[in-house]
């Protein structure tokens, strides 16, 4: 249809707010992107500066000599490869678990009526409203009695599911047409079969969104891994980074190098799932 053709739409005169508004929009967006990305470019610059430059007190914009050795030094000073592996295992396992459990609960809340549904949903949502460290110590005590301290299951189990993921999946599944489900029932399909073959395929985009947000959050999780690990070989990357702070000063170049290394996997995952994001969120029934 001609009306859907973006080229046609743009040529209409009544689309202009005022002459030159596109140019201003461009400038505004570029400016905002600059403010967004320049600090992180500065972080890259920090990661390549020498000790003299970071302690100097006159901030250096771009190092005189690119100290790529800082990255090597990072991997030498601490078992950073191991930290990254631990972070990856933790974030992946948790993400996988969310992808399995959150849609189950989201579907139940979205498409079924049952007693206490609203109350249960509010209670579930309420778990988002308390900071994590409120439940941290009881869980730690529980885990230490189970012998799960300093282990992968210790790292992973507290986060296998949460209200944010359930809420997101519920919002997505709710607008799906009930006729699809009813058709499945008429055909005599079991509820499980309906879920697996009718509902789940529709949620792929939302699952991609959930995977990205969950992975990023868990990748950068600091407090629980700090508390549950007690050996160097189980540490995750964010805690590993704290090793580069001396007591009273921060070794900025190494910390920045570690931060860049920490950032790379999330950036990769993001490009991986980019195409789903806008489409996925558009379909989550948030409008």
């Amino acid at each position: 249809m001609a009306n859907d053709n973006p080229a046609v739409r743009l040529r209409r005169g009544s689309d202009r707010l005022f002459p030159g508004d596109r140019a201003i929009a461009y400038v505004a967006v570029v400016l905002v992107c600059a403010v967004t990305v320049l600090p992180l470019l500065y972080m890259i610059s920090l990661s390549l500066q020498s000790n003299a430059e970071i302690f100097a007190g006159n901030p250096v914009l771009w190092p005189a000599q690119l100290q790529f050795a800082n990255y090597a030094s990072l991997f030498e000073r601490a078992p950073v490869a191991r930290f990254l592996l631990n972070s990856f295992i933790m974030a992946s396992l948790i993400t996988l678990s969310h992808l399995i459990f959150d849609p189950l609960a989201g579907y139940a809340f979205a498409k079924f009526e049952f007693r206490f549904k609203r109350t249960l949903f509010i209670i579930v949502l309420a778990t988002l409203m308390v900071p994590f460290f409120v439940r941290m110590i009881p869980i730690y005590v529980m885990f230490s009695q189970l012998g799960w301290t300093d282990s992968y299951q210790g790292l992973v189990v507290p986060f296998l599911s949460d209200a944010f993921g359930i809420f997101l999946m519920r919002q997505f599944i709710e607008p799906l047409p009930n006729t699809l489900i009813d058709a499945g029932r008429v055909d005599g399909a079991s509820e499980w079969r309906i879920y697996r073959s009718i509902i789940l395929p529709q949620t792929r985009a939302a699952l991609a969104v959930l995977a990205l947000f969950t992975f990023v959050f868990q990748w950068n999780n600091f407090l629980w891994p700090l508390v549950i690990t007690s050996s160097t070989k189980m540490r995750t990357m964010p805690i590993g980074l704290t090793l580069f702070n001396q007591e009273y000063f921060t070794q900025w170049n190494l910390t920045a190098a570690g931060s860049v290394v920490l950032f790379v996997p999330t950036a990769l995952l993001f490009f991986f799932t980019q195409r789903y994001l806008v489409r996925g969120i558009a379909l989550t029934g948030l409008k």
Binding site: D4, L10, Y26, M129, D182, G188, L286
Partner: protein, 300 residues
């Protein structure tokens, strides 16, 4: 057997299917709720019980005194107010900037996919790095920003000292801008073109189209951003911890930041639990209000 055949012909569910359907939600919820019971409800209830005790071992019964104490505690009251300012500022600017950026990107600017990606980069970065980086940049004496301003013969800034709350609001918005823009953009792209066509036929200007078509149809997205935004900014901890350490003085001593001190520095876990639950009640009320407003608008 016959009834099943009849059901297939008429499309009505059978009794057996009915029972399976009633049980189905419980089956689906069994595993997630079992998990929630052990890893959320049990620890949270345990901490709720703790809030009625005091002392570093939380073993001296204190009744509701932890709760009444919170209202008399000038420090906590101050933290509560500052946290509200922070949350309001972050929410308002996130939504405003997100809306404007989404509107611009929605107009099919060339390269908008790249811009979308760049905008999300801060969101993908660990908050620890974000906080320390901005602290480094904004330092009035030795920070990069002032160095650049000096080189450009512009006046230097001391925002960390003069406007600390505004500064951490800025950093929070900076980190979230890509996320909110993305949500609004997706919301906008889901609005059928036909609505805009109808408005144009009615002679609406682009500005009017934005107000009358885009914004109202974006209401559910705005609601989501707002509910989640309130829940998370009222619980902000990392930014005051990393950037200003609650300072200067207690200017940026946000609620959960102060709470953390109560728990781990003053070692009063009972009081800390009570404070957490008080904030929970506040957030519940605010979320309920927002959801109620959202539901009312939806009915239009």
């Amino acid at each position: 057997m016959t009834s099943l055949a009849t059901a297939r012909r008429t499309g009505l569910p059978t009794r057996g299917h009915n029972r399976r359907r009633t049980l189905a939600p419980y089956a689906f919820l069994a595993a997630p709720m079992a998990f929630f019971a052990v890893l959320f409800f049990y620890p949270l209830v345990q901490e709720l019980i703790t809030s009625f005790y005091t002392g570093p071992r939380a073993d001296q019964f204190a009744g509701v005194s932890n709760f009444t104490r919170a209202f008399a505690d000038a420090n906590m009251r101050h933290s509560f107010v500052v946290t509200f300012e922070f949350a309001a500022g972050t929410l308002v600017f996130s939504i405003l900037i997100g809306l404007v950026l989404a509107a611009m990107l929605n107009a099919r600017l060339k390269g908008s996919v790249i811009f979308r990606g760049i905008l999300l980069v801060p969101y993908l970065t660990s908050i620890a790095i974000v906080g320390l980086l901005w602290r480094n940049i904004l330092d009035p004496q030795v920070g990069v920003l002032n160095r650049l301003l000096v080189a450009a013969h512009l006046p230097t800034q001391t925002w960390l000292n003069t406007s600390p709350v505004a500064t951490i609001v800025f950093i929070a918005v900076w980190q979230q801008v890509g996320y909110t823009t993305l949500l609004f953009l997706a919301g906008m792209q889901g609005i059928p073109e036909s609505y805009y066509e109808a408005a144009k036929v009615d002679g609406a200007s682009p500005w009017q189209r934005f107000w009358r078509v885009t914004l109202p149809l974006l209401a559910p997205t705005t609601l989501f951003v707002s509910v989640i935004g309130v829940i998370s900014s009222l619980q902000e901890f990392a930014l005051p911890y990393l950037v200003t350490n609650g300072g200067p003085g207690d200017a940026t001593s946000l609620y959960v930041f102060r709470l953390y001190d109560v728990a781990f520095t003053f070692r009063d876990f009972g009081y800390a639990s009570a404070l957490s639950y008080l904030m929970l009640i506040v957030i519940l009320i605010l979320s309920a209000i927002q959801l109620r407003i959202g539901r009312r608008d939806h009915g239009e």
